[in-house]
Structure formats: structure tokens, C-alpha cells
């Protein structure tokens, strides 16, 4: 589903964020990506999202070489990927419902379908009764679940998460991880960047470890 073929990324100031990374992630996999901050986890996710382009090497998503996706193709590419951010990236001037609905509005669904799907997604993360709430009134864990609902509402094939439990206590973190496992079980490819080694190693999934831009563990399934 996601293939990195000898991918290197060097930023302008001569800092190598990724060096010769090769990895293959299968369709039904849930994979953790670990490493110290600055080891290249975010860069790897950014390359999948086309927020950055690799300096060398190829990135393939769902069989397609991302080098062939031009600026006009980027929005469509991103619609196939759900993303969960550490800082939620919610829009605080609109309700939970409108936040979750955003990807569907962008994709041009009609409002009945949007209502149905948003409620389904909110139900899945256990927030169905909070759809009219404003994000500021929610706790950190609830905000993160809104972010997850928004990531999955468009039924993406791939779900990426960048430190999704970064600000949460262990119990909440475990709960969030269980949600990701649920989505994985219904066929979504999930890639989670996390530095929480304790939590990650308790769950039995493949772990990729990056150190100074090199993949030092987990390159093969």
C-alpha cells in the first residue's frame, strides 16, 4: 500500500532528515513508526501526504508513484488519506459536526449523506452526543477523537497519525490506540508515528524505528 524505495530527504540547510529509507507497508497492516524527535518520523509522513517531495528515491502509495502527482493532483491524493495530528488541527470557530464534515464538504457530498456519515464517524469514536459542541469545550482526549473522526469520515484507504497520543494520559492513549486497531481491522492501512515506546511495544504490531534518518528496525514485515 505504501512503498518507500531508497528515499532520502535533505532540507536546505544540509540536514538529512531521511537517508536511504526502504520499506513496504501492506494493505491490511497497522505499523508503528518510532524514534527520537528529529529522527525523521514526521518527514516520512509528510512525504506520504505530499507536503514535501523526496530529494532522492521513490514513494509509492496504492501503487502510484507520487513523483507523478502534480500540484493539481495533490488535493485528490490527500482525500484518499486520513490524517490525525498531535495538536488535533481542529477549527475552533465551528462545531464538532462541522469539523468532522469538512472532508466530505470538500469532496462535494450532499448534506444528507454528510449528516449520515458524520454521525456514523462520531458514533465510532463515542462522541455522537457532542456533535453540536464547540471544540474548546471538549477535553484533550475528546478533541483528539474528533480529529480521528474527521480523519476516517471520508473512508480513506490509509490512516496516518502523527503522535496521536502525545498529550494524553496512558489510559486515554490506550483507548485511542484501540480505535486505530478497530479501523485497521476493517481494512484501513494505519501508520502511527509515536515516541511512546512503552505503549507501542505492548501492542503487537510491526514497529519501524528511525535513527538519524535511517531505518534501523522493522523494514521487513
Amino acid at each position: 500500500m505504501i512503498t518507500f524505495d531508497r528515499v532520502s530527504k535533505r532540507y536546505g540547510e544540509g540536514h538529512d532528515a531521511l537517508r536511504e529509507v526502504s520499506v513496504e507497508i501492506d494493505r491490511d497492516e497497522l505499523v508503528f513508526l518510532t524514534g527520537h524527535s528529529g529522527a525523521g518520523k514526521s518527514t516520512l509522513l509528510r512525504l506520504i501526504m505530499l507536503m514535501d517531495r523526496p530529494t532522492r528515491g521513490r514513494v509509492l502509495v496504492d501503487g502510484r508513484d507520487l513523483a507523478g502527482v502534480g500540484p493539481r493532483g495533490i488535493p485528490r491524493h490527500r482525500r484518499d488519506i486520513g490524517v490525525v495530528f498531535q495538536n488535533h488541527q481542529l477549527l475552533f470557530d465551528r462545531s464538532v459536526f462541522d469539523n468532522v464534515a469538512l472532508p466530505l464538504v470538500i469532496a462535494g457530498f450532499d448534506h444528507r449523506e454528510i449528516g449520515r456519515r458524520v454521525r456514523a464517524a462520531l458514533g465510532k469514536v463515542g462522541l455522537h452526543e457532542r456533535e453540536r459542541a464547540m471544540p474548546v469545550t471538549l477535553s484533550g482526549g475528546e478533541q483528539q477523537r474528533v480529529g480521528i473522526a474527521r480523519a476516517v469520515v471520508g473512508r480513506p484507504k490509509i490512516l496516518l497519525a502523527d503522535e496521536p497520543t502525545g498529550n494524553l494520559d496512558p489510559a486515554l492513549s490506550a483507548e485511542i490506540m484501540r480505535l486505530f486497531e478497530d479501523f485497521n481491522r476493517v481494512g484501513v492501512t494505519v501508520l502511527i508515528a509515536s515516541h511512546d515506546l512503552v505503549l507501542v511495544s505492548r501492542l503487537h504490531h510491526r514497529i519501524l524505528t528511525l535513527r538519524e534518518g535511517r531505518l534501523v528496525r522493522g523494514s521487513a514485515p
Binding site: R72, P75, G108, D110
Partner: protein, 326 residues
């Protein structure tokens, strides 16, 4: 075969579905941006006023020139000759002279204005009644107002008539009242050009003001734009609400401009009518009318779109989730 037909019908539904979604987002963007504009009434009213005043200046000037042009054209006989008669010519002689002059082929009419009647009219209208009453004798001469024949527009023929009449015995002085009309027409032309130049500059100003307003609104929604782009929003999708914001600001400004011009002309209407009555004319100021105001609203809307497009083209592409690495 059937699967192909199915595919075709599905792609048709897909197209219809996408069109519906596109229309829906237009509706949403229009309503949302209008709500945002109304949500911040103080800033919005200021913007509307700035645009309204900027548009009202050239449009108002143009309207005044329009009226002045109408005023000039409303004189069927653009030129008039005033014959001031000698002191010793009495009313009867003057009447006889009027009949003689009116008999000429190149004269349409000649009317006699007796000195006493003129004094009376002057003292009631000028407010100098006391001063005039204290004078030992009437300072005004008898006057003959001569209207040239309608065909006599040519300046040379008018000059010839003027010379003829001035040479008459009874006439002390003959004044050809044409210069003021030429000056008026010259002034109107100048005024129109000034309105055009002023208009061009202020229209550019309006576009820039709106562009800047939209730029600020883009800046204040930077994070939202990043999120929208991250979840797959295209540039067109991100652009839409800002273009609508420009449209609302612009057309609101156009409406303000229309109301300002209309209000100003209404305010001027009464004194102008009074002044016209003094000149014995039934001239009335013409306002911009409903269509004029509507045109201003449309013009404002187009300028708003232009300004928003300028800002969006320049600043939106700079906001990418990739820029400024986390």
C-alpha cells in the same frame, strides 16, 4: 455491453453528484462569508463606507455634469441678445422698436422689459430693496431681449446680427450672451474628463483597498486554510469564500455609493429647483435612479471580486501545509 452502459450511467451520476456538491459549496461559501462579514459589523461598515465614498465621488461628479449638460441643452436658443436702450427712449418707443426688431428675418422674438418692472423684480429677488428705494432714480435702463431665429447657431451670423442691432439709434449697448454658454460647455467637458480620471484612480484604489482587506482576512484564517488543504481542499475550494467576501464588500460599497449620490442630489434638489425658478426655468436635478444604484452595486461587486482575486492569487498559494516545517 450492459456493464459499459452501467459505467456510463454511473459516471453521469458521479458528474451530477459532483455538480450538486459544487453548487452546494458555492451556496455555503456565499452564506458563510456573508455571515462573517455581518459578524463584524464595525469593520464591515467601515469598509463599505470607504468603498462607497470612493465610488460616490466620481459617480456624483459625473451625475452633476450630466445635469449641467441637460441644463445647457434645455436652452432651445443658446444665444440671447440683450439690448440696453438709451435713457431717453420711453416705453412706447421701446415697444415700437421691439416690433421692428421682431420683424427681422433673423430674429424670432423680441420682448420688452420696462425699467420699472425690472427694478421691481430686482428689488424683490435681490434683497436690495432698501438700497434701491433710497436711490433718487431708477438706475436700470429699458431692456429689449432679442431671441435669434432658431437656425442662427453660427457664431459669425450671430455676430453680424449683434453688430446690426448695436448700430441702431435707440440702442445704447448690445450684449451677445453667448460666451457664458460656451464656457459652461467647456466646463462640462472638463468636468467629465476630471470625473473620468478621478474615477479611474478611485476604482484602482477600491480594488487595492479590497485586495488588502481580503489579504488580512486570508492572514487571519491561515491555520484554517492549512487544515483545509491538508484534508484535500483544492485551491479553488479555499479561494471560494474569499472571492465571495470580496463580492459582499464590493457590492455593499456600491450600494453605499448609490445611496450617497442619491442622498446628495436629494439634498441639493430643493435649492437647485429654487434657483431654477429664479431663472424662470422648471429645471430639476435628476438622481441616479434605481437602475443607477443597481449598476453601482454590480460595479462594486465586480471591483470586489477583482480585488479578492488579486489578493487570493498573490497570497493563497503561499499558504501551504509544507511551508514552515513543524
Amino acid at each position: 455491453m450492459s456493464s459499459r452502459r452501467e459505467g456510463a450511467s454511473r459516471s453521469r451520476t458521479l458528474l451530477a453528484h459532483r455538480l450538486a456538491g459544487w453548487l452546494q459549496h458555492h451556496r455555503l461559501s456565499a452564506a458563510d462569508s456573508l455571515l462573517k462579514v455581518l459578524d463584524n459589523p464595525f469593520a464591515s461598515v467601515l469598509t463599505w463606507l470607504v468603498i462607497g465614498i470612493a465610488l460616490a465621488l466620481p459617480v456624483g461628479l459625473d451625475q452633476v455634469m450630466d445635469n449641467a449638460g441637460r441644463l445647457g441643452a434645455s436652452w432651445d436658443h443658446p444665444a440671447q441678445l440683450s439690448l440696453f436702450l438709451r435713457e431717453d427712449i420711453d416705453g412706447a418707443q421701446a415697444q415700437a422698436l421691439a416690433a421692428r426688431v421682431a420683424g427681422r428675418a433673423d430674429v424670432e422674438a423680441a420682448s420688452f422689459l420696462a425699467r420699472d418692472a425690472a427694478l421691481e423684480e430686482f428689488s424683490t429677488l435681490s434683497g436690495f430693496a432698501d438700497v434701491l428705494a433710497s436711490m433718487p432714480q431708477n438706475p436700470l435702463p429699458n431692456l429689449l431681449l432679442v431671441t435669434p431665429a432658431p437656425g442662427l447657431e453660427d457664431a459669425a451670423l450671430l455676430q453680424a446680427l449683434h453688430a446690426d442691432l448695436a448700430a441702431l439709434d435707440e440702442v445704447d449697448e448690445a450684449v451677445l450672451d453667448m460666451a457664458w454658454l460656451q464656457r459652461l460647455r467647456g466646463l462640462i467637458d472638463l468636468g467629465r474628463r476630471a470625473a473620468l480620471v478621478l474615477g479611474a484612480m478611485l476604482v484602482l484604489g477600491v480594488v487595492l483597498i479590497l485586495g488588502n482587506t481580503i489579504r488580512l482576512s486570508i492572514e487571519s484564517r491561515r491555520e484554517e486554510i492549512v487544515v483545509v488543504k491538508l484534508v484535500g481542499g483544492s485551491n479553488a475550494f479555499v479561494r471560494r469564500p474569499f472571492l465571495y467576501t470580496g463580492l459582499w464588500y464590493g457590492s455593499g460599497g456600491g450600494l453605499v455609493a448609490g445611496l450617497l449620490v442619491w442622498g446628495a442630489l436629494w439634498y441639493l434638489g430643493e435649492p437647485v429647483a429654487r434657483l431654477a425658478a429664479l431663472y424662470g426655468s422648471s429645471f430639476e436635478l435628476a438622481g441616479p435612479g434605481v437602475m443607477g444604484v443597481l449598476n453601482l452595486v454590480i460595479l462594486g461587486g465586480l471591483l470586489g471580486l477583482a480585488g479578492a482575486w488579486l489578493a487570493v492569487a498573490r497570497h493563497l498559494s503561499a499558504i501551504e501545509p509544507g511551508a514552515g516545517r513543524a
